[in-house]
């Protein structure tokens, strides 16, 4: 090499494997579901407990419209129905 410097044409980090954040790294995990959470928005009191306890972060509570669930990724574990204090979420077979 001597005095020659190593010339890197591309930035080095472009050649390293860099992981990208991605929604759904395991595919559409909604396929795992056997029971589907169905929300009765007229019963919902907007306590946000289902959003806080959801393990997959697919529940979103909008103060005006109510609970929205992303069924593409919901695995149907039923924790939201278990923690709901007014039983507004019901697990129904898929």
């Amino acid at each position: 090499m001597g005095k020659d410097k190593l010339v890197i044409e591309k930035p080095l980090y472009d050649r390293l494997p860099i992981a990208k954040p991605m929604v759904g790294v395991a595919g559409k995990t909604g396929l795992w579901r056997v029971e589907k959470p169905v929300v009765n928005n007229s019963k919902c009191t907007r306590c946000f407990l289902c959003e806080i306890y959801c393990p997959v972060n697919v529940i979103r509570v909008e103060p005006e419209t109510g609970v929205e669930i992303d069924y593409d990724y919901c695995k149907g574990c039923g924790i939201c129905a278990d923690v709901c204090p007014v039983n507004a979420i019901e697990m129904k077979p898929e």
């Binding site: 992981a19 929604v23 407990l49 806080i52 393990p55 695995k75 574990c77 129905a81």
Partner: protein, 352 residues
């Protein structure tokens, strides 16, 4: 340089979740700790994106999510080998919206020490564009109780500034439910099977949080995902202290504990109600302090429930509820009561 476009967050249209976790160089300040559920839903996004491969009904992502809601700014997460590592980072993608590193099973605490030292060195030479960069470790009970304890003990002794969160599902669940140092007495696992010779595991759970208290590090606490405000406050305290901090979080596992998928929160609540897993925090100044539900139980002992309430939901303790094994149940109840009395004597805010 290739510009990569990041995927859209599917739930709230027009606002990707990971954006809250991108800190431009020169970012100053601190994310606030919010415990009002409505403000939390409006202003915060968890660092773990949906669609990871953890089992339905697992409590570990709830711990990660609640902890990430309490982060105070740029954060680097270190993960030991375990359920969270294999399920959230499937090459070449990751579910983490923040920088994440995995090294090996045993050296998550050593890796965190190295990152913390590098941050310190960059800060000293003026090359760090942030006020503070926090290091948080997520490790399971195998990576903490058994394999990683020498790295953890060494890092605690050297006094590196990081937060170590142990999610304790009480066996090697990732490899097929083998016993670990964190498995409680009389629990069924595949390497301590219940039969005519032995009634499950024969040894008691290792008191890992008390071992960390013996290191006299600035902050040690226990928590569960069911007590979410308690968990978030403790994570924030652990990040803010200057020095190592350790948080022991109980994480029910529906595959290994043999319970129904929807009961993770109920079981962690009952673990505290029966005093099987008391909630406390320890600081060198104040000593042991009971928090949340355990403080209520200390003030009003009528709230304490028998250990059957915790065991009856789990298949791994099914044999203890049979009539011929009543003496084992009595032994476990006496052990839990003795540990609880011991903690009450040590706690500075318990009524004497």
């Amino acid at each position: 340089m290739v510009v990569r476009t990041l995927p859209q967050y599917p739930i709230k249209k027009g606002e990707p979740a990971y954006k809250i976790w991108i800190f431009e160089p020169g970012w100053k300040g601190e994310l606030p700790l919010i415990t009002n559920p409505r403000q939390l839903a409006e202003q915060k996004r968890p660092a773990l994106l949906p669609g990871h491969r953890l089992c339905a009904g697992c409590a570990a992502p709830i711990i990660v999510k609640l902890a990430s809601l309490a982060f105070r700014g740029p954060t680097i997460v270190v993960s030991a080998t375990g359920c969270i590592e294999v399920a959230t980072t499937i090459f070449p993608y990751t579910s983490w919206a923040i920088p994440w590193i995995h090294n090996a099973f045993e050296n998550s605490a050593a890796t965190a020490s190295g990152i913390e030292s590098a941050i310190k060195a960059l800060k000293k030479t003026g090359r760090l564009p942030y006020d503070h960069v926090d290091v948080v470790v997520f490790a399971g009970d195998g990576g903490t109780y058994d394999i990683g304890i020498q790295a953890l003990s060494g890092a605690a002794e050297r006094g590196h500034d990081f937060l170590y969160i142990l999610y304790d599902n009480e066996a090697y669940m990732n490899t097929g439910i083998q016993r670990s140092g964190g498995t409680p007495k009389f629990a069924w696992t595949t390497t301590s099977p219940v039969g005519s010779v032995i009634p499950g595991k024969m040894e008691h759970k290792k008191p890992i949080a008390d071992i960390m208290v013996a290191h006299r590090i600035p902050y040690v606490a226990t928590t569960t995902p069911a007590h979410w405000i308690d968990l978030m406050k403790k994570v924030r305290k652990g990040i803010e202290v200057n020095g190592p901090a350790f948080i022991h979080a109980l994480s029910p596992c529906d595959r290994g504990w043999r319970h129904a998928e929807n009961l993770a929160i109920e079981i962690s609540r009952r673990a505290v109600d029966t005093c099987y897993f008391p909630l406390w925090e320890w600081t060198p100044e104040k000593g042991y302090m009971l928090t949340d539900r355990s403080l209520s139980i200390a003030r009003n002992p009528k709230l304490k429930q028998p250990i059957e309430k915790f065991l009856e939901l789990q298949g791994r303790f099914r044999h203890l509820l049979k009539p011929e094994n009543r003496h084992l149940l009595k032994e476990l109840q006496e052990y839990v009561d003795a540990m609880w009395e011991d903690l009450l004597n040590r706690a500075t805010n318990a009524p004497k």
